[in-house]
């Protein structure tokens, strides 16, 4: 199968490329990029004038819920949501039921992903058995089975000694360790960010220091052991400062944030709308400003949706009992494009944050349109106006506070290994 994409503005930060050109795809690979490429016999020619073609977007933090919680999402529905949102690759967290802490689950996830045959699915294995924070999983075996990173996401690794050992052992295997930073003693019982708005709502607060205490601790461990740490869903000004300082000292610290942390504040919680309930919680306006600064100056490497699909029954309850999370795969790019519209990020930085950097952090040979690389391409219509409507979500999770929000720009075509997995052109 041959594909000739004609006339798109091609933005590929991996090659410092931002020009209008054609891309020829042959046998699932990029065979050439250039001006006025002639269509070889049998090639499908697609006119992409006024469109932007970028290295396939990678969402390095999603929850696919399978095995065990298929009523929320499956690997098939989650990968369908991924390609509909413009993502060619996703990395899925291990907090399934059972927890993904052994290779039989890795094999299961990869088999289901292959059956779905939509986005590439990269499994993240648990750091500890059952994510209980006690006994290390078999990192080596997990890696051989196809796990690309380790995390107990949803829970932090509270035991500093276990974290140290995990980072050392994983470091020797070049497996990234991803920490959900939350000191559970500081956050105990909390339901929203601690601040003026928790005082108003009377909801128990989660202080910013609950996140920052673990960011700080893990930066110290990374420095002491000379290993890598990746900070998941950074949400506070203090976290940004700690990560920036660590990077300035040359430590191997990387970080991601999620679109809701640069879009929404804790003021949104004033009506107890559970669609805004996430963990870490929505923070103050000052935190949101710091997250944007961190994206602009590169302190925060990646934007990941923390796609957390839930069923209505998980959210249509009292705020205290509602599940945390936003179904984010289908709004992540639209919300992130606002950063470009608002001058927070250049296109180059946006594509770095949503493709090149996640690939680098996860050691994936992705995030590039270089000749010979896998033809994973996302085509974006930067001008298309649309309105978020959860009823049209491909994901089973319709839990989004962004429903009804007006957006500008969306993915119109998602190509994985040269196959068009999603075509949403008007």
């Amino acid at each position: 199968m041959k594909l000739l994409l004609k006339g798109a503005r091609v933005i590929d930060p991996s090659q410092k490329m931002d020009t209008q050109m054609d891309i020829l795809v042959e046998e699932g690979k990029i065979s050439s990029c250039g001006t006025s490429i002639k269509a070889p016999p049998g090639a499908q020619v697609i006119n992409l004038v006024n469109m932007i073609a970028v290295p396939g977007l990678i969402d390095m933090h999603v929850h696919l819920r399978e095995p065990g919680l298929e009523y929320k999402e499956t690997i098939a529905t989650g990968s369908a949501a991924a390609v509909a949102g413009g993502f060619t690759s996703i990395a899925c967290m291990p907090n399934t039921e059972p927890v993904h802490d052994n290779r039989s689950i890795t094999e299961f996830v990869l088999r289901k992903a292959a059956e779905a045959n939509l986005a590439r699915v990269y499994p993240i294995g648990a750091i500890s058995v059952g994510s209980e924070g006690k006994q290390m999983t078999e990192f080596w075996d997990l890696k051989e089975a196809g796990v690309i990173a380790l995390s107990d996401d949803g829970k932090p690794v509270m035991d500093a000694a276990l974290m140290r050992r995990a980072m050392e052992y994983a470091g020797s295997l070049d497996l990234p360790v991803i920490q959900h930073c939350e000191d559970i003693n500081l956050s105990a019982g909390g339901l929203m960010n601690e601040g003026y708005w928790s005082t108003i709502t009377g909801l128990p607060g989660i202080p910013s220091i609950a996140e920052e205490a673990i960011v700080g601790r893990d930066v110290l461990i990374a420095e002491y052991t000379q290993t890598r740490i990746h900070i998941a869903h950074a949400s506070t000004a203090g976290s940004v400062r700690l990560i920036r300082d660590a990077k300035m000292r040359g430590l191997k610290v990387t970080a991601e944030t999620a679109p809701h942390y640069f879009t929404l504040t804790d003021e949104c919680l004033q009506d107890y709308d559970t669609s805004y309930k996430v963990n870490p919680p929505l923070r103050s306006a000052a935190d949101v400003a710091a997250i944007k600064e961190g994206l602009t100056d590169g302190t925060i490497d990646a934007i990941a949706s923390d796609h957390a699909p839930h069923a209505r029954t998980d959210k249509e309850v009292e705020f205290a009992y509602a599940a945390n999370g936003i179904s984010g795969l289908e709004t992540s790019l639209g919300l992130s494009l606002n950063l470009v519209h608002d001058g927070i990020l250049t296109w180059e930085k946006l594509i770095n944050a949503m493709s090149c950097n996640p690939a680098r952090i996860l050691n994936l040979n992705k995030g590039t349109l270089k000749k010979g690389s896998d033809a994973d391409i996302t085509v974006i219509d930067p001008e298309q106006g649309w309105t978020v409507d959860v009823k049209t979500f491909v994901s089973r999770g319709k839990n989004s506070p962004f429903s009804g929000r007006k957006m500008k720009g969306r993915a119109v075509m998602t190509i994985v290994a040269g196959d068009i997995k999603y075509d949403g052109r008007a």
């Binding site: 128990p204 607060g205 009506d271 705020f319 205290a320």
Partner: protein, 308 residues
């Protein structure tokens, strides 16, 4: 004037006119409770469900008596929150109750925001009888009624609220109400019991009881929840009582004609000494209870379309 509200969820969203209307209506109802036959036919044929997910004697009884004095049929449902977690959801309970066509549902719930959820789902009027640490509007209204009864006004008064402000819905509702009515509110308690950024609510906050009650017209003591000791909110009841108990000695700092209030139930000797609590010269604690029935009668009446 008519109360143009479907629900009473909090004082935060009430106007000064609405508060005045409720207080004046309550004052006119006071007399009913002094009659030999304490019943008027005003709400005959109306049904009121008291749905209490949290233990309460005073508030539930007060709402029940208020309904009965107005001839409404009152039904009490006590449910434990644990049964919510494992069994029927609040939403299903609400829809089932809605299908039985009551007129008003009075909800007490340990989760802040639960009455808002209920109000968004059912067509009946909802009265928040206390939701988590959020609001307890009928308590603040009866407190304001009592202050006005004793002081003749609310504007310009200094009101000190002492205790666990962090976990107190009574404090929040009173802060909104008293501030709207022109009183000056000062809160005091250990720093561990002070909500973050509380001053942004337009009030003063301090950590010493003495600083707060000096020259106060009203001293409102909050109940200390004994189980908070285990959460390291304070070291011991002994230490708390030594520094935050209102007693004969420190009350002298307040104005000579200051009144003392408590939403109950009291921990005698912890946040309030018995000789202050029982002193008829300053304690208005039982007047609060009496006014509570009148305020709840007013809320039930006004939400049923009274004053149309």
């Amino acid at each position: 004037m008519k109360l143009a509200k479907k629900d009473i969820l909090g004082i935060q969203e009430m106007t000064v006119d609405e508060i005045n209307l409720i207080l004046e209506t309550a004052e006119s109802f006071l007399e009913i409770s002094t009659r030999e036959i304490k019943k008027v036919p005003t709400l005959r044929g109306k049904s009121i469900i008291n749905l209490f997910y949290e233990a309460s004697t005073r508030t539930r009884t007060s709402f029940e008596i208020a309904g009965k004095r107005l001839s409404a049929d009152t039904i009490n449902i006590s449910a434990s929150t644990s049964s919510v977690v494992k069994g029927e959801t609040l939403i299903d309970t609400a829809r089932n109750l809605e299908a039985m066509n009551p007129d008003i549902i009075v909800l007490r719930h340990s989760a802040a925001g639960a009455p808002h959820l209920l109000a968004s789902l059912v067509r009946q009027s909802i009265i928040n009888a206390g939701d988590g640490a959020h609001e307890h509007p009928s308590q603040a209204l009866l407190d304001m009624m009592t202050i006005r009864e004793k002081k003749g006004r609310l504007a310009g008064l200094k009101v000190a609220i002492i205790g666990d402000i962090l976990h107190s819905r009574v404090a929040r509702s009173n802060i909104y109400g008293l501030s709207k009515m022109g009183a000056q509110v000062v809160v005091a308690g250990p720093a561990t019991m002070m909500p973050r950024n509380i001053e942004q609510m337009g009030i003063k906050a301090c950590t010493k009881l003495e600083d707060a009650i000096t020259d106060a017209d009203v001293v409102m003591m909050l109940r200390i929840q004994l189980e908070r000791e285990k959460q390291n909110i304070f070291p011991s009841l002994r230490e708390y009582a030594r520094h935050y108990c209102l007693n004969r000695r420190n009350i002298k700092l307040a104005k000579p004609d200051a009144i003392v209030m408590h939403p109950g139930p009291m921990n005698r000797g912890v946040e309030i000494s018995p000789d202050v609590a029982d002193d008829p010269a300053c304690s208005v604690i039982l007047d609060q209870v009496n006014n509570g029935v009148a305020v709840r009668m007013a809320l039930l009446y006004l939400l049923s379309g009274g004053n149309e």
